[in-house]
């Protein structure tokens, strides 16, 4: 099992969720976070914003479903310009995949 943490733009969250639903992935946890990337935030005129609001999605999936789910999130969360809709912009986010050793359902206690 793997745990996917996707940090994405808040405005693309709905798009990503709908894309995951089409691939039969419904279970997820959402979280409001702030963060910055290697560009150290954004500069608007003379003001520097070092913490930019983002949305984090946490999804746990069996190993064989991970590659597809990552690709779905990637395509749905990627923004672009008018001419090139999927060219990607700074700040589109990151996806991290980590190991999960056990998973328990509290209601039934099954592993």
């Amino acid at each position: 099992m793997k745990l996917i943490r996707a940090i994405i733009r808040p405005e693309s969250t709905q798009r990503v969720i709908e894309a995951l639903e089409k691939n039969n992935i419904y279970a997820m946890t959402r979280m409001n976070v702030t963060g910055r990337g290697k560009e150290m935030g954004i500069t608007q005129g003379s003001i520097r914003y070092t913490e930019i609001p983002k949305e984090m999605l946490i999804i746990v999936l069996p190993d064989d479903a991970v590659t597809k789910a990552v690709r779905v999130i990637e395509t749905a969360a990627r923004t672009g310009t008018k001419e090139y809709p999927a060219s990607g912009n700074l700040g589109d986010g990151k996806i991290f995949v980590t190991d999960v050793e056990e998973s328990h359902t509290i209601r039934t206690g099954e592993k």
């Binding site: 279970a27 997820m28 946890t29 959402r30 946490i58 050793e101 209601r107």
Partner: protein, 145 residues
């Protein structure tokens, strides 16, 4: 070291804190999250609008003479309908413990948070490579004790 991520109901936070304290787990991080499970945020419940469906069984019972009137409203069965709830507020706990404490913590979390209804939550156990106590710079298991 293992990281335990538990997603529980918000009303179960206080009992969980107390239970974890009694088994000696003191360091917990809480997150406010919203989430949904395998059902995609829908539950099945009786329709309050009152559309009723007659159970086939009562007609068989009428034929066999067990009951006299199958049309009686007391034999009506309420229709189940799916209610869309969407993302619900939950609490996420992050606990880092030594390997040998994992079964105890998982059992405690399961027992305290179980109500038997859908939406009780999930517990995930993930490997954790290192921990550092910032105050002293200690690494590994020393940083947890």
């Amino acid at each position: 070291m293992k990281e335990i991520i538990a997603i529980i109901r918000t009303e179960h936070v206080e009992p969980t804190k107390g239970a974890l304290e009694t088994i000696g787990v003191k360091g917990i991080t809480f997150f406010n999250v919203i989430g949904r499970g395998r059902q995609g945020g829908t539950i099945r419940a009786p329709d309050p609008e009152g559309t009723v469906r007659r159970d086939v069984g009562v007609y068989i019972m009428q034929q066999r003479g067990i009951i006299s009137k199958a049309d009686d409203p007391k034999y009506h069965v309420p229709v189940q309908k799916e209610i869309e709830l969407g993302f619900l507020p939950k609490k996420m706990l992050m606990i880092v413990v030594n390997d040998d404490e994992v079964p105890l913590v998982v059992d405690t979390l399961t027992q305290i948070n179980r109500s038997g209804q859908q939406g009780d939550g999930k517990i995930f156990v993930c490997p954790m490579i290192d921990a550092v106590r910032i105050r002293t710079g200690e690494h590994g298991n020393k940083a947890l004790s």
